[in-house]
Amino acid sequence: MKTETLPGDIRRGDGETVLPWWRQRKRQHIDGCTLWFCIMGAAIVGITVLALANIAMTELADPVHLLEVAASSEVLGSILLTFGAGASAVLLLILFGTPLAYVLARSRPSRFKGFVESIVDIPLILPHTVAGLLVYLLFMRRGWLGAPLSDIGIAFEDAFPGTVVAMLFVASPFFINTMREGFEKVPVHLENVARTLGAGTFTTFRTVTLPLSLRHMYNGAIFAWGRAIGEFAGVIMIAYYPFIISTLIYYSFTTDGIRTSRSIAFVVIVVSLAVFYLLRRMTRHLGRYDDRV
C-alpha cells in the first residue's frame, strides 16, 4: 500500500521518500505475557522516573538558587575532582585490568582460576564501608603499601591518590568482568590464524583480539567510571578530603540542610546524564563491522 506523501517527508537523492520518525511507527502486536512483563518492569523504571521528577520539579521551581549552587567553585571543583579521579581509576583499570581479563578469558577452568575470579568479585559483595576499610588499612601511612609509597612521596590519606585507589578497588569488577566477556566472545580460531600468519602472541592480541573487544572495553570503562564516581563510603575512609561529589553532598546535608544538598545532587544528575549520553552516542558504532549498514 502506498503511503501518502505529506509535508515533512524527506526526499532522498535517489528519489526515494523517507518518512519522518513520527510517521515511521508500526503497529506492533503485544501478547498478554509481554504486556504483564512491561507493566512489572514499569514499576522499576517508575521509581527512578518519580525520584527524578520529584527532584527536578523542586529544583526548577527555584532556578536562581540552583544556578547559584551550580556556579559555585566548590561544586564545580568537586565535580571535576570526582570525574577526574574516576577517569584515573578507569585508566589504571584499562592498563592493569585488561591483561587480567584476557588471562581469565583464555585460561581453562581450574580451582586457581575460580579462586582468582572470586578475588576479582570481592568488591561486589562487600559492604562499601568494609571495602573502604580494606583500602584504608592497606594504603594508610603505616599500611603495607601506604608506608613504602609514602616514603617516595605518594600519600593516600586525604589525598587525590587515596580517592583514586578507593574508586579503583570498588569499580574493578565492573571493568574486568565486562572486558573478560568481550575477550571470551573473540573466537580463539581468529587468534590461531593470526599466529600462523606470522603474528606473535602480543601482536595477535594488539591487532586482532583487542580491536574486536573495543566495544566491551568502552562499556566496561563506562560502567566502572559510573561506579567509581558514585562511590561514597569506600572513599571517605581514606580520603574524606578533598571532597568528591558524594562527600560534598553528605557534608552539605549534615551542615547546611536539605536545600543546598538537593541542588548539588540535581546538578550532578544533569551533568552525569549528559556525560553518559554523550559517551554512549560516541561509542554506538564501535565494534560494528558491516558496510551494509
Binding site: 573466537p187 581468529l190 600462523t196 602472541t201 591487532t207
Partner: protein, 353 residues
Amino acid sequence: MIAFDHISLSLGTFSLKDVSLTINRGDYYFIVGPSGAGKTVLLEAIAGLHRPERGRVLLRGEEITALPPEKRGIALVYQDYSLFPHMTVIDNVGYGLRMRGMGKREARGEVAGLLEEFGISHIADRYPATLSGGEQQRVALARAVAGKPDILLLDEPLSALDPVTQEKFIHDLQRLHRENGLTIVQVSHSRREAHLLATRMAVIIDGTLVDEGRADVVLNTPRSRQVASFVGIENILDGRVAANDGGHATVDVGGHAFEAVTDAAAGEEVTLCIRADDVVLGVGDGRRSSTRNTMAGMITQIVENGPVAEVKVNCGVDLTAVLTRRSGQDLHLAPGTPVTLSIKATAIHVIRG
C-alpha cells in the same frame, strides 16, 4: 618435510596418543576420521598451536617441537574461514605480509595480484560480514597463501559450501597444488574429496592414528575393520579361513564360502572387505566365467543416488552392489527380483585378525 615422531598431547579430557606420521614435500595429505576423533587438534598441532607432552616434531629434518606457530611457515584455514571481521578483504589478505614486516602500501600492491588470481578483486574493500560463504572461503585461501607458506593446512574447507561452489573450490585447490607445488594437509569427512585430491592420507579415530599411507592403498586396502567402515567400504564381512591352498583361501562367512587371496592360515579369523562397485550383478543363469565367487540371492532394496543405484541383495549374507541407474532399468530390477552376484577373489581385501 614435516614429521610427527610419537607425539602425545592432552587437551582437557581429549588426548592425541602416540601419533607418528610423515608428510612429504608436494603431498596432498588427507586426515580423515569421525567427529571428535582429534583431526582438528592434529592439524593445530602441526601448525604449532599445541605443544606436545611427548614426542618430537621435525621440519626438514630439524626439530621444531618448541617452535611457535608464527615461525613455522605453516598457514591454516579453518572450516569457519575465521576472517578478521574488523578488517576489509584486502587487509585480511595482506595481514600475513604486514606481520612479516611489509609496509601497508607495499602489502596492498602485493595482495592486488592475489585478489585477481582468486577472482575477488571486486570485494577488496568489503568487510567479511557482507560476503557469501564462497567469497569468504576464497579470501581465507588467498590470505593463507599470500605469505607463501611451506605447508597449507585446511580444516574441512568444503563442508559449508553448496555443491557448485564446492566444485569450483576443488579446482582451486587442485590448481594450487599442481601449479605452486604447495604441500597441503586437509581434514575431511568426504571419501569423494579424498579420491579427487589426496595423494596420501591418515585415518584418526579417538586420538589414535589407525592407518596411514598412499591414499589409494588406505581407501582400498584398509588395515582394520574400523578403518574399512570409516573409508566407506560397503561390504564388510567377518569370517574364518576354512582352508588355504597356497594363498588361495576359502573363507566361511556364516555358512557361505567366499574365495579370496590371502596368507591367513586355516582357522584364522578374518574380515573381508568388498567394494560395492566390485560386485557384479546379473539376472538369470550366469554364464561361465573366471569369477571365483558366484552366489544367488534376492534384491531387498534399491537406493537411487543420482546416476547410480545401490542394490542390496540377500544371498544368505547381505551384500551391496552398485550399478548405473540405466543398467538397473535395462535389467528390470526391483525388490524381490532373483539375481546372481559375482565377485572376483582378487577384489576381496582380507584383513587378518
